[in-house]
Symmetry: C2
């Protein structure tokens, strides 16, 4: 996995929490490369909105205030609603295969209260539903804002794990049913509804900094 993806996942997993300073030199030594490729990754992360680079100061992980939280989740809901307008129906079989594996794994993850495992399952679901989107612009945007959102719910996952992971299984099962009926539009609405559920579940725990 590349430097960009590694750092991005660490931010989403809160291994690098908001406000954390990321020193180029330190990361360069860890990845056994020079500062150049590390800088490239950090600049891309800044473009994603996950980090902020200030000359002479350093690179810091961006804070997520109440405004950003609401903006991102509301936008993701609208984006998901659009999935049905651009269905990539040819991908349905492969997505169904992914979802099958995903639901099987989810039971074990729930028993173990394996939060990192749950985070990975969400990545897989995101990747799978992305394959159903037949419009590249929408698909890219869908993925882009997933990575902005996932660290938000992960910041309170220890307090909502049971409900959130139960809903996750329900969401995956509903998507399977919809896809077996060939109804990609339903997938978008299912996802939209579960984003809304998650948003309302997170909001009480989410205090602006």
């Amino acid at each position: 996995m590349g430097i960009y993806q590694t750092i991005r996942d660490r931010i989403c997993l809160l291994h690098y929490p908001p406000g954390k300073k990321l020193a180029e030199q330190e990361l360069a030594e860890e990845f056994a490369v020079s500062r150049t490729p590390v800088r490239q990754a950090l600049q891309r992360l800044e473009y994603d909105g996950l980090t902020e680079i200030r000359n002479g100061v350093g690179t810091t992980v961006t804070a997520v205030d109440r405004h950003a939280f609401e903006d991102i989740f509301a936008f993701r809901m609208r984006i998901s609603e659009l999935i049905g307008d651009f269905p990539a129906s040819a991908e349905i079989p492969s997505v169904l295969a992914s979802l099958g594996h995903l639901i099987d794994t989810a039971e074990q993850v729930r028993k173990d209260t394996d939060m990192v495992g749950f985070w990975r399952l969400n990545h897989e679901l995101q990747e799978a539903t992305g394959r159903l989107i037949g419009n590249r612009s929408l698909r890219d945007t869908h993925a882009r804002y997933y990575f902005l959102a996932c660290r938000i719910w992960y910041s309170v996952i220890d307090r909502i794990f049971d409900e959130q992971s139960a809903d996750f299984v329900v969401e995956a099962q509903e998507i399977v049913k919809a896809l077996k009926a060939g109804d990609v539009r339903a997938v978008g609405f299912i996802q939209r509804n579960h984003i809304a559920l998650g948003m309302h579940r997170i909001a009480p725990y989410f205090h602006p900094e």
Copy 2:
């Protein structure tokens, strides 16, 4: 204006047409800097989808095939429809001021068949309507895909200038009327409809490569 914006505008203005090779060394000499900041700009443009970097070959401006054309315009239509869901009503007065100046300038641009001037007016309208969007995620996406779309209609602007610029004035006037009524939602639908008009006007001239 920065290196990134300069190169981006040259791509959108077809000064750098699809397929054009952008040599880092050459650009570095033009901007009187080293390759490093040029590389930074080119990498960001690649992330935008405007260029493609291949090791050992060089950086080329991406081609726009029929698929990309349809994806981008369809997506932009959907994005514009969402504007009304996140109105930044406080910006209405300043946007009205921008639109006034814009409509005044447009008449002269139409008389002169000033295509670059028309291109600039579109930038201004894009920037002004962006200020009406109260959701940062939507605003960023709205801007991002504008720059992917504008070089497409600009590639055939010489053949559609009269109709396109006439519609532009109508669009701006309709937006003024909507904003005077405080109806930001209407702005999104006006823009959506004019994107659709433009798309159908372009399609006949647009041949896949």
